[in-house]
């Protein structure tokens, strides 16, 4: 369905910086922002991650958020990115607007910080409801200058933001809303930092997606949102169309709670559904922004699914998690916005630190930044715990 769902705005905050400009510059730079935790109060000070380099009080200032409101870090990150998206699209406040947010941690940072106090005293009772993910979503929705008619939180682990974007597209197709701001947010919490660490899938060095010697992932954080509307609506208000969301596919691997199937069945089906929705052939895809976490299991399973789908004509493949870390529920949105930047600027970011080809795979990722590459269609993959696999296709507006 190329040409139906227009992307007319975007906002982003991640380890790469704030906004599209800093993100683009960061992707072209050799300075990888992944480093040891500065803002997360953890004992695992040696484990690299892709933090957004702002304290919460700095985020309050950046987002112009009233400091008398206690908000989880995820809401603060979300506010910065969602407002950028809203401003960049410049739609009229009379539009019917929905806000769809992919997140899993919600207010977990507040809960883990105060839980022992909650158990001892009533002093912090007003903070307890912040645990609920819907609160953190609605705090973002309420920060927008337009009135949001419908809000929702999608939580499918590491594919949450991709599924939020897909649901946003369905809402536009339904005709119920003129504009949908869809994406996701996740802040690094001690809860999931320790959860991933206990699973022994965190690399103690910056991650190396698709490398034969990869040792795991680095967690990341951030927020990103796309502004979606029908092409007719965008054209009627003379809004520049940055790209089209031309396909989306969701499939469940139904194999294991944390591991991906060896044949990447869910991943393959999600990609096939996205191609079918877009009415495209595999050979139309120019670049795959892979899920590519850097774990043994994901990169092998995803790689096998890519080989099955693309055969010998493998498009460029790369993971941008080597810049941002794996921002879990926000990853699909960060990577959708990065894909948009790639289309607008005709480049493919380097899959950093790649040295040795994985012997079980037929392809190697893009190891050096490519510029001047005309990109028609980019496939962006997001695969989550529980086998919640989603693939998006983002297409150039000039085809």
């Amino acid at each position: 369905m190329y040409g139906q769902i227009a992307i007319t705005g975007a906002g982003i905050i991640s380890a790469l910086g704030v906004g599209l400009g800093q993100t683009y510059d960061g992707l072209l730079s050799d300075n990888c922002p992944i480093g040891v935790p500065k803002h997360l109060a953890t004992i695992h000070t040696n484990l690299p991650c892709g933090e957004v380099d702002f304290s919460n009080s700095q985020l309050y200032r950046l987002g112009a958020v009233d400091t008398s409101m206690v908000l989880p870090r995820s809401s603060l990150l979300g506010i910065v990115a969602a407002r950028q998206a809203e401003e960049s699209a410049g739609f009229d406040s009379s539009c019917r607007i929905a806000f769809i947010n992919g997140t899993t941690v919600g207010g977990m940072d507040i809960t883990e910080g105060y839980l022992l106090k909650y158990l001892e005293t009533d002093e912090y009772n007003n903070l307890i409801p912040l645990h609920l993910a819907g609160y953190s979503t609605d705090a973002i929705a309420d920060s927008l200058s337009s009135s949001v008619a419908f809000s929702d939180t999608i939580s499918t682990a590491c594919s949450a933001a991709a599924n939020a974007i897909a649901f946003g597209a369905e809402l536009i197709l339904s005709g119920r809303f003129d504009v949908v701001i869809a994406g996701g947010v996740e802040c690094i919490t001690k809860f999931h930092f320790n959860g991933f660490n206990s699973l022994m899938i965190l690399d103690n060095q910056p991650c190396r997606p698709f490398d034969a010697n990869r040792r795991g992932l680095n967690l990341g954080e951030g927020a990103a949102y796309l502004v979606l509307e029908s092409r007719e609506h965008a054209q009627s208000r003379k809004a520049p169309i940055k790209a089209y969301l031309s396909g989306w596919g969701n499939s469940c691997d139904a194999y294991h709670q944390t591991a991906s199937s060896p044949d990447g069945r869910g991943a393959l089906m999600a990609m096939q559904k996205a191609l079918a929705k877009a009415v495209l052939r595999a050979s139309d895809i120019d670049y795959i922004n892979a899920h590519g976490t850097g774990t043994q299991n994901n990169d092998l399973s995803e790689g096998v699914a890519l080989m099955e789908l693309f055969g010998e004509k493998m498009p460029y493949v790369g993971s941008t998690k080597c810049f941002t870390g794996h921002a879990t529920s926000a990853a699909g949105a960060l990577e959708a916005v990065i894909s948009l930047l790639c289309i607008e600027n005709s480049f493919i970011p380097a899959n950093l630190r790649f040295e040795q080809k994985e012997p079980a795979l037929s392809f190697s990722p893009v190891s050096k930044t490519l510029t001047g590459v005309e990109l028609r269609h980019i496939m962006s993959n997001s695969f989550g715990f529980g086998g919640n696999d989603t693939s998006l296709i983002i297409s150039s507006p000039q085809l």
Partner: protein, 317 residues
């Protein structure tokens, strides 16, 4: 607007009521405090080995899933769409308490693995071997309606031919007491449930039709009027309203509803939990199937947002 093609084929519940019992057999639950689920024997649904490792929210959700599929004569659905307010809160709480009390060392990943809210939908998928569409809505008191809206849109557009819609929430002592102190339960009995509905775009053997789902956080009166208008309905045509009000506690929030209508409530049967409106929907299904109501409107409310679900009976008068 043409008639909706979204039908409910079957429904199942494990809640504070007798497991799997019909809504007509529901009895009011206690008046305060924690009222846990009444559990069935799970052996006919889940093998003992698997059952032992499974948290209560997962075993209940798998049991109601198997029950609705069997009733509908469907082996594997096209999609599994879940609504949950707190997800797998017992496993979340267990990993979290260990971490904050004992520190960030020696943590066992098993509770973390099953702590994410989408574990419910993905464990159902793993049990059924279902590779179809799978999504989870985690949006407080409207998680179930948001999941129903996604199901409704995908069925209406013909993207899917059937959907397993599941609502699930779990009660734990710590989270109960925290949310109680935060005023979330409003001094009402707090409970839990897993409720499943088999939805289809085919009316064969259906028990009720979902005409529409409308959710509004900024102008509920206008949205409600628009919905009625689109379906060529006036208030006269709606014979029964069912709301999330409880003994008049939230009567201000529901004061806009017309006087003189049959207005029912469901929380005296479900207790308070974030997806309790799924029990309201279960009751609506029962009434529509047995011709005790023809046209029903379910109204749920959470933090300035209203949801309106319009149902029709398929019984011919």
């Amino acid at each position: 607007m043409s008639k909706s093609n979204v039908y409910i084929l079957s429904a199942s519940q494990i809640s504070a009521q007798e497991p799997f019992c019909a809504a007509s057999d529901f009895l009011p639950i206690g008046s305060r405090g924690m009222v846990p689920c009444k559990e069935p024997d799970y052996k006919s649904f889940i093998s003992p080995m698997v059952l032992r490792r499974m948290s209560s929210v997962l075993r209940r959700s798998i049991a109601v899933t198997k029950d609705v599929l069997k009733k509908a004569g469907i082996e594997c659905p096209d999609a599994i769409i879940t609504g949950t307010g707190l997800g797998c809160i017992s496993d979340t709480e267990s990993f979290l308490l260990k971490m904050v009390k004992e520190g960030e060392t020696m943590l066992n990943p098993s509770k973390f693995i099953t702590s994410t809210p989408n574990t419910i939908g993905s464990q159902i998928a793993i049990h059924l071997g279902c590779n179809g569409f799978n999504s989870t809505h985690l949006h407080d008191g409207l998680a179930f309606e948001n999941a129903m809206l996604e199901s409704f849109l995908l069925l209406s557009r013909g993207e899917l031919s059937n959907v397993l819609l599941c609502a699930a929430d779990q009660l734990t002592e710590t989270m109960y007491s925290l949310l109680d102190r935060a005023g979330i339960w409003k001094d009402l009995p707090s409970s839990e449930a897993s409720v499943a509905f088999m939805l289809s775009s085919n009316s064969h053997n259906a028990v009720a039709r979902i005409d529409d789902v409308v959710i509004s956080r900024n102008n509920h009166l206008r949205e409600l009027e628009r919905m009625l208008l689109q379906h060529n309905l006036s208030w006269e045509d709606i014979d029964t309203i069912i709301t999330s009000d409880f003994g008049g506690m939230e009567s201000n929030e529901f004061a806009f509803l017309p006087q003189g209508k049959r207005i029912l409530t469901y929380k005296q049967y479900s207790g308070q939990f974030l997806t309790a409106s799924a029990i309201g929907t279960y009751i609506a299904c029962g009434m529509l199937e047995s011709n005790k109501a023809q046209k029903m409107l379910l109204v749920n409310y959470c933090r300035n947002t209203y949801s309106f679900t319009l149902f029709s009976s398929l019984c011919t008068n």
